[in-house]
């Protein structure tokens, strides 16, 4: 087979290619360094590129959080660390500048939500697992897939560059509500910083759309023989639904952003009206910031599930495998994800109860938002029932998965309060909200991502990660995470607003300093714990133990190919699927797992097929 030409997975599917396939791995060394590692169209390489880029971004966002947490715990105190990170201008004498503080929280949020938990999470695992677990040679379009990564890369670079410009990075909060984000007079970050933010995010959306379309097409068209939709692993279902959410909602963010660019640079008035700033009245009349909020949250809320669903898919797979037990309620899990996906499009208004939106509209959103608690509860119960009477193998991935279930519940229940418009009046934009979304979305998604990295490291880098370091990393992270975000509920019940540079301006918050110190100390411990992960990651990548073919005793297809990165994924013909992926500890079977490629025994029922 000629190698330097690019095969789409479709052509690789053709039978005549299969006949040549057995010697195509001999040709691999013909690929140049550039096509293999840089402009690669191979889903495995692209997956690793997404992962490492996202990790770099996450480290930046994490260091930012330590800087502003130092400020919040000890306002006015001088820290050499702050001066070292922020430089002379924004951290003069070790004291953080108030505008720089807002830039930090803005970029911290932007990176964590979009670059780590959207680009990083979906980009890494959808790319790695969709072709592998569907039994495809590669993504439907390797070229678009490559473009998807490079748009992500350029978007990341622009976001990072924006941190170093004269007036500072975007600082209107990650939700960039205009007019604050539209008017350079309002805040220095709304000068060039905001322009770069908007450009970066537009490129990000291009990346996300190219990736998402590819994921959808691949799942629908390139499943191997026998891989019915009802035999797909839950990971793939989760990635598919996530991709659909992204494709439907991200374009709305682009419209939202384009209108903001128009208002900022071309004198339109989509979001602006009756404004007096910088000593003069502006000409803009007739626009409304509420329009922006509707457009933003039409993406923004599905975005929460774009972040969360892949993590839930990953842990479904890991919890089942490591419990040596079928996932409980496979169909209910799919149904819940579909319900969550659908509902996520009609709940955006719950971010807007007290924005001036018509209160009647608010009541509709209360109803739809609380409905979403039902499929979420079903998922949580199904996870717990999967553990029941299992034979739990406590790998670091399993621990992080259990951690996810805990944070999903702990953060989820406070959502019931915030979804209720009546109660949201008091808690809107307080630390109660910060606690809620960090636990339910941030921690859950990050735990899911860590679980995925530990579990599929052998597929990513053909080596194993160190287990003991994994344990240490999990425990420090888990303890620190709750140490950071649990106390924030109590700041919220005391009425502390979010995005305050310091709480010391209002005497009513004078007695909360201890809580802030506990939070910051936990954050520092949590950040240091990530050094253990980074070391383990890079060390294992080069010097970890060689991975065996199927280290966790899994049923899914990615463990049926040799321990190598083969162009086309399987050296011979593609595997054929005969059963659903969750036949763990099936009575009568010899081992406690039956790979999907094993034909059904006579009279054996397939759970993935029709039943009852």
């Amino acid at each position: 087979m000629e190698t330097n030409t690019i095969h789409t997975a479709n052509t690789l599917h053709d039978e005549h290619v299969h006949t040549h396939a057995h010697h195509h791995h001999d040709d691999e060394h013909h690929e140049s360094f550039i096509t293999k590692y840089v402009f690669s169209q191979d889903h495995k390489t692209i997956s690793r590129q997404f992962l490492i880029t996202a990790m770099v971004m996450a480290v930046v966002a994490m260091v930012m959080s330590i800087v502003f947490r130092l400020q919040l715990a000890w306002p006015g105190e001088k820290f050499a660390f702050i001066e070292w990170v922020m430089g002379d201008k924004w951290g003069k004498d070790g004291i953080l500048d108030p505008n720089a503080y807002l830039a930090l929280v803005t970029i911290h949020g932007t990176i964590m939500v979009f670059f780590l938990l959207t680009g990083g999470l979906s980009g890494t695992f959808s790319n790695l697992l969709i072709p592998y677990q569907c039994g495809a040679r590669d993504m439907a379009s390797g070229f678009l897939n490559m473009l998807s990564y490079w748009f992500f890369f350029v978007s990341s670079v622009i976001m990072l560059v924006s941190l170093f410009i004269k007036d500072g990075a975007a600082s209107a909060g990650w939700t960039i509500y205009p007019p604050l984000s539209a008017l350079p007079e309002a805040i220095p970050g709304s000068k060039l910083g905001m322009t770069l933010w908007l450009v970066s995010m537009t490129l990000f959306v291009v990346s996300s759309l190219l990736g998402g379309l590819n994921y959808i097409v691949t799942v629908i068209n390139l499943r191997t023989k026998g891989m019915k939709m009802t035999r797909l692993p839950l990971t793939i279902w989760a990635f598919l639904i996530t991709a659909i959410l992204g494709v439907l909602s991200f374009p709305v963010l682009v419209s939202c952003v384009v209108l903001l660019i128009m208002d900022r640079s071309f004198g339109t008035s989509f979001y602006l009206s009756d404004i007096y700033i910088g000593g003069r009245p502006l000409d803009n009349v007739g626009g409304s910031p509420i329009l922006f909020e509707h457009l933003f949250w039409f993406l923004g809320h599905p975005e929460v599930y774009i972040v969360l669903l892949p993590a839930l898919g990953i842990t479904s797979e890991i919890i089942s495998t490591m419990s040596r037990k079928p996932i409980f309620g496979y169909r209910a899990m799919i149904g819940s994800m579909l319900a969550i996906g659908f509902l996520s499009f009609i709940v955006w208004g719950h971010h807007m109860y007290v924005t001036g939106m018509n209160p009647f509209l608010g009541s509709v959103f209360v109803f739809t938002t609380l409905l979403i608690a039902i499929p979420s509860a079903v998922k949580a119960f199904n996870y717990i029932t999967t553990l029941w009477k299992g034979n739990l193998q406590m790998s670091p991935a399993m621990l992080f998965s259990i951690g996810l279930v805990s944070s999903f519940i702990t953060g989820g229940v406070t959502g019931i309060i915030l979804a209720d418009s009546t109660l949201d009046i008091t808690y809107h934009d307080t630390y109660f909200v910060v606690a809620h979304f960090h636990i339910v979305m941030g921690l859950s998604a990050v735990f899911g991502m860590f679980a995925g990295v530990y579990h599929w490291f052998p597929k990513l880098f053909l080596r194993m990660m160190n287990k003991k370091l994994g344990y240490l990393h999990f425990w420090l992270t888990f303890l620190a995470a709750y140490g950071v975000f649990f106390p924030m509920h109590f700041l919220g019940t005391a009425g502390v607003p979010r995005r305050y540079y310091t709480n010391s301006a209002f005497p009513m918050f004078d007695d909360l300093a201890d809580i802030n110190v506990i939070i910051t100390v936990s954050a520092i411990i949590g950040a240091l714990a990530q050094l253990i992960f980074l070391f383990n990651f890079f060390y294992s990548m080069f010097r970890g133990e060689k991975a065996p073919q199927n280290p966790w005793g899994s049923n899914t297809l990615e463990w049926t190919n040799p321990v190598a990165h083969i162009h086309g994924n399987w050296p011979g013909p593609l595997p054929v699927v005969h059963r659903w992926p969750y036949d763990y500890s099936k009575p009568g079977a010899e081992k406690d797992f039956i790979p999907q490629t094993v034909p059904l025994a006579e009279g054996e029922a397939d759970e993935g097929g029709h039943h009852h």
């Binding site: 807002l102 509500y177 205009p178 604050l180 309002a186 805040i187 602006l272 404004i275 007096y276 007739g286 509420i290 419990s323 040596r324 037990k325 079928p326 409980f328 309620g329 007290v354 924005t355 608010g362 009541s363 209360v366 109803f367 609380l370 039902i374 079903v378 119960f381 717990i384 029932t385 553990l387 034979n391 739990l392 406590m394 790998s395 621990l399 519940i409 406070t414 019931i416 209720d420 109660l423 009046i425 194993m464 990660m465 287990k467 709750y482 649990f486 005391a494 009425g495 995005r499 305050y500 209002f506 007695d511 060390y539 970890g544 133990e545 280290p551 969750y582 763990y584 500890s585 406690d592």
Partner: protein, 343 residues
């Protein structure tokens, strides 16, 4: 000095490298697979997860014990009573769910930790069970939704009170101005193009209804037991008028007028005598004393609660709730807009 750091850093790297080599060598001699999850790991981790559960719950109750009395004082507004009652019910419910489900999670993780001859139960689904845990949350939510919406409608419906106080809260970077309707009970119309040094809130000077309007900054008085109708405007960016003690909040959006109504039920003086508030202030003043600051008394506060720029954290106003008589005395001492503008 920095050279010393560099040398120390390099030595550290070399030492780590050597240490890792030793570990790798000894591992290859033993032929053991480090990554493999052994029964001893399952045992340690299973027990650790159970221990974690106790620590976690312990931490939760410790926080409740330590910090619950730092929460906002009991409400000082009429609708706030209902908000607080619903909130309390919600908290009982979610704390119950939080404790029960986390208990199952961590207990199962401990109970079913892997052991060699243990076989997992092949148990793929149970429709009855799944129906059960669809219906139970659904009915609990139905209750919450019903009450939530009932109260929400009451809170947000237009004020029907005949005897109300109309106040405009005008937000700008970075302070608040309150505008009282004056004797005619009407707020004069506004025009942002007329904003100037002597007309900070953009009163339309052609509208005579505005002549008797009263503008106040920093600290305002409001009467107890009377419906207060707030109308909110912003000059520049979105702000949010947050009155946590009254369970009141509404964004101030440039280009539109937003509203929120509430009826204060306790005067500032009454609030200062409330045992909860006395205890709260004791904590606050102890913390202030430690920092060498003067003790203070309780005050209702208006805060900005939507990111609005560099001094977002420092944009507040004090609200004194007083008897109607005191309010009338106070308001009669304030100068109407016209007199101030003509000066």
């Amino acid at each position: 000095m920095s050279l010393l750091y560099i040398i120390a850093f390099l030595l550290l790297i070399i030492a780590t490298h050597q240490l890792l080599r030793i570990i790798e060598l000894s591992r290859s001699l033993k032929k053991s697979k480090e990554w493999e999850v052994k029964d001893s790991d399952n045992d340690t981790m299973g027990k650790s997860l159970l221990l974690f559960m106790f620590l976690f719950f312990g931490f939760f109750f410790w926080q409740m014990y330590q910090w619950n009395d730092k929460a906002l004082p009991p409400t000082a507004s009429e609708h706030g009573e209902k908000v607080d009652a619903l909130l309390e019910y919600n908290f009982y419910l979610i704390i119950f769910v939080f404790l029960v489900t986390n208990t199952f999670l961590f207990y199962f993780a401990y109970k079913y930790r892997g052991r060699k001859n243990q076989k997992a139960l092949y148990y793929a689904h149970n429709n009855k069970l799944e129906m059960l845990w669809t219906i139970i949350p659904a009915s609990a939510l139905a209750f919450i939704i019903t009450y939530g919406l009932l109260y929400w409608n009451e809170i947000t419906e237009e004020s029907k009170a005949k005897d109300k106080v109309l106040v405009e809260l005008y937000a700008k970077q970075f302070d608040w101005t309150a505008r009282f309707a004056g004797k005619d009970g009407k707020l004069g119309s506004t025009d942002y193009r007329q904003i100037s040094g002597s007309n900070a809130v953009g009163m339309d000077t052609n509208d005579v209804a505005g002549n008797d309007d009263i503008l106040v900054k920093n600290e305002i008085y409001l009467p107890v037991n009377k419906e207060i109708v707030l109308e909110m405007r912003s000059r520049d960016v979105i702000h949010s008028a947050f009155l946590p003690h009254f369970r009141a909040q509404m964004n101030c959006v440039p280009g539109m007028v937003t509203t929120f109504k509430f009826k204060p039920t306790k005067t500032t003086e009454e609030m200062r005598k409330d045992p909860y508030v006395i205890n709260l202030m004791k904590g606050i003043n102890a913390a202030r004393e430690k920092r060498g600051e003067e003790p203070i008394e309780f005050d209702y506060t208006l805060l900005c609660n939507k990111i609005c720029g560099a001094s977002h954290y420092n944009m507040g106003m004090i609200i004194k709730i007083v008897s109607e008589k005191e309010y009338n005395e106070w308001i009669s001492k304030q100068k109407p807009f016209k007199t101030v503008a003509q000066k």
